[in-house]
Symmetry: C2
Subunit: 437 residues, 2 copies
């Protein structure tokens, strides 16, 4: 018998028939002898509806009360799921984040988990019951107020519970079949990645792959929780995310069949191509190339609360003694940052500032590239052949990212996907959504 | 400065504009220097919508999960109300039943309050904040599970909090102007009762006056909590329900003006005429008039979980040694009770059973009738003059109830209302609902 934590997103529990279908899937796990803990999001768009209601009542709702309001959504979905499970002949008990022991700090709307004390969940499992837990929410250690973990927080709830309970696997159910080598809407020959390391998944999530929440991947990596991202609309295996290095198992099927024993295998060189069209680029031209100037720039950017992604500084010309600094950031943050930098122009002594939201970012990810030379050369050649101009480059040990013109992005993703032989050979069907939607 | 507990029903917080209007009212109390605790029901019909959702998921949802589901309704309304209050410039904090210290037994769906520990509410008041509390809900002392108090339980929450906090008054806001001498839909000249004792209100609630929940009145009487039933759609005074006897204040205005000091006054003889058309009548004909038979009958009725209201046993004729026993009960419970009694016919040795749902119950209520002879004679004369036949009679010290044919009920209520000079002399306007609905 193994312990499985399953997380179902809003689209998987969007209405009563969907909830009953999910209950059948959970019941099958229980009947196969597993202990099952289920983390559930609010139904369909209900969180957005609550946010609209708050906006209709108050122009600036206090964060504490917004958390109180939004947590009603999971309360509804988890109670309904427990009811549907009871009808399958299994005992099910629902628990709020507070009851499940999700202890957080007091940062309403974006609380961090500081402890997980799942005593009531463990007791429910020991009693033979299925435990249903409200995702996305917790209780503040200091104020005892209800908190939320922020959007996508249900993934984090699931991973945190899996870690605290020592679960064998944490299954993240969504409306796609797993993580793909590229976005299938752009690359029709993209195929499901059967296995990937936490580190690569982290790079992919950061580079724009939206299936899994970055924070949940970080948590899973830290606590070595095996993740399995799969569709709630099919029984197909999805993408297994496990501890990296040479200990990759051969595939998700074998992972389940082997009692979670993993066997070494040769790593693939490249896992996938991610893209992100939601960033803008700021360039400061003619920044004096003296110590401390870059630090001064990014202090101002940080004060504007922007998450800077890529940073590139040109080599200065000895004649002018000035250099250019470019960085990318979410377009939503751009106005604020441009304002702050323009205000500080005299202090920073740059000559001019350029901003463009007409950029796209392509990232090639693969733990194998560490030991395989020539990956970047192959990437640049593929982009060149496709007639794509590169504006910025940034690399980590398992990722190479380039910034291109936004109009070139889709073409670039397809070219790179082909160049690294990721195109599906057998034309494996890519399934988005399912019969139930 | 006084401490006021206010309870707003679902119709008072049905949508965002209604919530903002209620917030204005609460803010005005706070600005007048009062400490304010607000108990709120779920918005409009949202509880019924959640019940429909549960029915769509499961034919027989478990009571624990139904409570978990339904308590989401108050969570939404209280958070929204706290947001709207914050916009008025006052600090407001919302609390679930559990956070407010509403400790109950574990009877899901109809939990009884066994303790109230409002430490966090008291702290919020001490901090100068307005406390918003979810009505209708609590937490089980033994299982720590979320419970509900049953329909109308928000009234009980408000009274229990008022008692525990030592509030000066508990205001119950509804969509009518207070308690009336009769149902204004039947008696157009009915008028608002300014003052009534807990005992009379108890009789009126039991006799079918639906504005206030019976259980809340019982609780208020036991803990001597002054209640004020009034409309959330106007600033008019409603009906004040206070400790009875000679200590009636002269009116709600004076109650507020006097710092809640009450002054003796002559009691009115009759407070009002209540009616109830939701009862049926069971008659057992030819029950042997021997000790223990009546007890045996009502043991069977109690086992069928029916709430029996009036019971009448005829004098037996010495010749047959048999008597007839009649009682009234909610029509919803009738089928079960008739079945149980029919099954036990041999044991109970009655000759035949009759059941009718074509009855109505009229109750005349007034603490003054204790010391005023001739009330019942006047009642019977009024009914006789109106051509209404009386099927059953039952009396208490402050109530006389009669059962009539259902078709006669409205006419009977009007006749009695006139006979006891309750008809409004000045044609005071009766307001149902308000401008906002």
């Amino acid at each position: 018998m193994s312990l499985v934590v399953q997380k179902y997103g809003g689209s998987s529990v969007a209405d009563a028939p969907a909830i009953r279908r999910v209950a059948q899937r959970i019941a099958a796990y229980r009947e196969a002898g597993h202990e099952v803990v289920v983390v559930v999001s609010a139904m369909g768009d209900s969180t957005d509806e609550l946010i609209d209601l708050a906006a209709a009542v108050s122009p600036a709702p206090p964060a504490r009360e917004l958390d109180m309001l939004l947590t009603a959504g999971e309360r509804i979905s988890m109670a309904l799921l427990a009811m549907a499970l009871t009808d399958t002949g299994h005992e099910a008990r629902s628990f709020t984040g507070s009851q499940a022991g999700m202890i957080t700090d007091a940062e309403h709307g974006k609380a961090r988990i500081i402890d997980v004390t799942p005593g009531r969940i463990r007791q429910a499992l020991d009693d033979g019951a299925i435990a249903i837990v409200a995702g996305f929410q917790g209780v503040s250690q200091t104020t005892k107020d209800i908190t939320t973990l922020g959007r996508g927080g249900s993934d984090t709830t699931a991973v945190a519970l899996a870690a605290a309970l020592g679960a064998d696997v944490c299954e993240i159910y969504t409306d796609v079949d797993g993580i793909f080598t590229a976005d299938p809407r752009i690359v029709p020959l993209a195929h499901r990645i059967p296995l990937v390391s936490h580190e690569e998944m982290l790079e992919m999530a950061a580079a724009g792959a939206k299936v899994l929440h970055l924070r949940a991947v970080e948590y899973a990596r830290r606590y070595r929780v095996p993740l399995h991202v799969r569709s709630s609309f099919s029984d197909r295996m999805g993408t297994l995310i496990v501890e990296g290095g040479a200990h990759f198992p051969v595939g998700p099927e074998q992972f389940y069949d082997s009692g979670n024993e993993v066997s070494p295998m040769e790593q693939p060189i490249i896992s996938g191509v991610a893209h992100d069209a939601s960033q803008g680029k700021v360039t400061l031209i003619g920044v004096p190339d003296v110590p401390g100037k870059a630090a001064a720039v990014f202090q101002i950017v940080a004060a504007a609360a922007a998450n800077v992604d890529m940073i590139v500084q040109n080599v200065s010309t000895e004649i002018t003694g000035r250099t250019d600094i470019s960085f990318t950031l979410p377009t939503d943050d751009a106005a604020q940052v441009v304002d702050a930098l323009t205000t500080a122009r005299d202090k920073l002594s740059f000559l001019s500032l350029e901003y463009s939201d007409q950029i796209g970012k392509l990232s090639l990810i693969g733990a194998g590239m560490r030991s395989h030379p020539g990956v970047s050369a192959r990437l640049f050649a593929a982009l060149s052949e496709a007639g794509v101009n590169i504006q910025m480059i940034s690399t980590s040990e398992i990722r190479i990212s380039v910034v291109t013109a936004k109009d070139d992005l889709d073409r670039a993703v397809r070219a790179v996907h082909t160049a690294f032989e990721l195109d599906s050979a057998n034309g494996e069907a890519v399934v988005y959504g399912g019969t139930g939607r």
